[in-house]
Amino acid sequence: MSKVSMAIQMSGLSLRNPIITSSGTYGFGEEYSPFCSPSLLGGITVKGITPLPRLGNPVPRLAETPAGLLNSVGLENPGLEGFIRSYLPKLVELDTSVIVNISGFSIEDYAHLASAFQNDSGIAALEVNISCPNIKHGGMAFGTHPESAQEVIAIVRKNTDLPIIAKLSPNVTDIVEMARAVERGGADIISLINTLLGMSIDVKSQKPILANKMGGLSGPAVRPIAVRMVYQVYEAVDIPIVGMGGISTWQDAVEFMLAGASAVSIGTANFINPIAPVDILTGLENYCQQRGYGSVQEIVGLAHQR
C-alpha cells in the first residue's frame, strides 16, 4: 500500500500532520514530552498568554460532568515577559510547529501581545483567544460580538506578520456570523470550539463546585456541538478550520475533518491518555490508507457532498 501524505497546508501554516494539541491542556510543551515526542505532532498550542502574569482563579478549578470536564483555571500564566523569558526559548527548540495562544482584556492588550511575536520569533502561528471579557466594555466577551471580534483580529493582523488563527467561542447564537467577522478582520485560519460555559453544583454543600462558580465545558460531551459548528463555518468562510472539542479517538478526528476541519486539536483527551495525539494520528493515517486517499487533505469537508 502506498503511503498517505499527512502534511497539511493551511493559508501560511504548514503542518507535518493535522494533529495539534490544544491551548491550556498541554502546558508549555514540556509536560507531555516524556510520553509523546513533539516531533510526531503537527503542532502544539501553548497556554493562553496575557500581557501581565496572572494567578488565575482559586481552587477547586475542576469538576467532572457526564463525559465532560468543567475548568476555571482563569488564565493563570506567567505573562508575556515571563513567557518570553522562561518558556519561549525551550519551545522554539522543539521539533514541531509551536502555536502561541494570546488572550487579552482590551484591544490594546491584543495589539501589545501580537507585536511581541513575529515570523522570526521561531513560532509557527498566533492563536487569538477571543473568549475573554472585554473589561472596557462591560465585560462582554469579545468573542460574542462580531464587531469586537473583527476589531481584535484586525489589530492583531496589524501587529504581526505571523499566520493568525482566530479561536471562536461556542457561546454564541450564530457561529457563522462570528466566523465571517474574524475572516473580515484578517484571520488566516479559524479554530473552534473553545469551551462552553457551564456549572455544576454539589448537592452536599449546596454550592457550585468550582470556586469561580462557572467554568468552561470541554470533552466528549461537547463534540456534537463542535462538529455542527465546524460544519456550519466550513460552508460560510473561505479560510481553513482547525476543529476541536471532545476529540478522543481517531474516529472523532475523522468526523471533524469530514465536517470541514483541515486540522484537529486534542485537548481534554490528553489528560486521560497522554499519547492520545499519536493514537489518533495513527488511526487517521490508517483510515486514509484503507480508503485509498493519497493525502489526508482529501477527506476535508467530504460530509458536505450531497
Binding site: Y32, K47, G56, V59, E76, N270
Partner: protein, 279 residues
C-alpha cells in the same frame, strides 16, 4: 521516569470492616522502579467516559525487587467504586510515579502525623526511612477503632513504628483529635526542637497527611514550635503531570509574593511554611 503503562493488578481486596470501604491494591510493574515516598500514581478507572478522568492515589508501598507498588484506597464515588471491580491479573493503565514526595531524613527524628486515610502516603515514608538512624514516631487520628484497624493497624505495628493513636469516640487510643496528640508531643519534647536562631540544629521534622483543616492545624502547631513540616496535599486533578493547571495550591514566597504551585508536580508534598491556607 514517568511512564504510562498497562500494569497487572496482582491484588485488590477489601481490608477489615466492610463498612469502612477500604481497599488494598498491589500493582506489578515498572512504576516501582523510580517511585519515591509521597509520590502518586494516576489510574484510569474506566474504559468509558464515566468518570472521564484518571484518579490520583498515593503510593503507599514500593518494592523495587518484586517491582510492585501498593496503594490503599477508600471508596467514595464512582471512580473508586470502579477500581474495586478490577480483578486480580487484570490490567490497569498506570500513569506514574508522579509528583514530588517527602524528604527522607537520614538522621534526627521524624514525626509523622496522619489523619484518617492520610496514613496511606506516610506508609511509604515509614518504609523508606532508615529506622536505625532516624527516630520514627507516628501520631494517627481516626474516626474510631474499626477504622484504624481496617486501615492496617496491625501491619503498621509490625513495621516496628512507635505509635500513638486518637479516635473521635475514644474507642482506641486517646479520645480526641490527632492535633491534641501533636500538641502534647511537641510540648513534652522541647529538647529535640530547634530554637529560633538554632539554624542547622533542627533534628525534629514533621511529615503529615490528612484532611485540609487538619493539615492547616498541624502546620500552625509545628511552626509555633519552630519545627519544619511537610504536608501532603490533595486537590482535584485532571492531567496529573503539570499541564492543565487544574490542581494548584497557593504559596507565599520569602518576599511575601503569592504564587501558584501545582499539587501534581511541585507537590503533592509541600513545605507547610509556604502554603497559604485561607485564600
Amino acid at each position: 521516569m514517568v511512564m504510562i503503562l498497562k500494569e497487572r493488578v496482582i491484588e485488590n481486596r477489601i481490608m477489615g470492616d466492610p463498612i469502612q470501604m477500604l481497599y488494598k491494591m498491589v500493582i506489578s510493574g515498572q512504576a516501582a522502579q523510580t517511585a519515591t515516598p509521597g509520590q502518586f500514581v494516576h489510574l484510569q478507572v474506566a474504559d468509558s467516559n464515566e468518570p472521564l478522568l484518571r484518579r490520583p492515589l498515593s503510593i503507599a508501598g514500593i518494592d523495587k525487587n518484586t517491582e510492585e507498588v501498593t496503594i490503599y484506597y477508600k471508596v467514595i464515588g464512582k471512580g473508586t467504586e470502579l477500581l474495586t471491580r478490577i480483578k486480580e491479573n487484570e490490567y490497569i493503565s498506570v500513569l506514574g510515579p508522579l509528583g514530588t514526595g517527602f524528604t527522607v531524613p537520614d538522621s534526627g527524628e521524624l514525626l509523622l502525623v496522619a489523619g484518617g486515610i492520610g496514613i496511606f502516603p506516610l506508609l511509604s515514608l515509614i518504609q523508606a526511612v532508615d529506622k536505625e538512624k532516624v527516630k520514627l514516631k507516628l501520631l494517627w487520628g481516626g474516626e474510631n477503632k474499626q477504622f484504624i484497624e481496617s486501615a492496617g493497624l496491625i501491619d503498621i505495628e509490625k513495621m516496628g513504628v512507635n505509635l500513638d493513636m486518637s479516635t473521635l469516640d475514644g474507642s482506641l487510643g486517646t479520645k480526641g483529635l490527632v492535633t491534641d496528640l501533636l500538641e502534647s508531643y511537641l510540648g513534652d519534647n522541647t529538647d529535640t526542637i530547634a530554637k529560633p536562631k538554632d539554624n542547622g540544629k533542627q533534628n525534629l521534622r514533621v511529615a503529615t497527611c490528612g484532611p485540609k483543616g487538619m493539615l492547616q492545624a498541624v502546620t500552625k502547631i509545628c511552626l509555633g514550635h519552630n519545627v519544619p513540616v511537610e504536608v501532603s496535599l490533595e486537590e482535584r486533578m485532571a492531567c496529573g503531570i503539570g499541564a492543565c493547571l487544574g490542581c494548584v495550591c497557593t504559596v507565599k514566597d520569602l518576599e511575601g509574593n503569592l504564587k501558584r504551585k501545582r499539587v501534581c508536580k511541585e507537590g503533592p508534598v509541600m513545605d507547610g511554611k509556604e502554603v497559604v491556607w485561607d485564600e
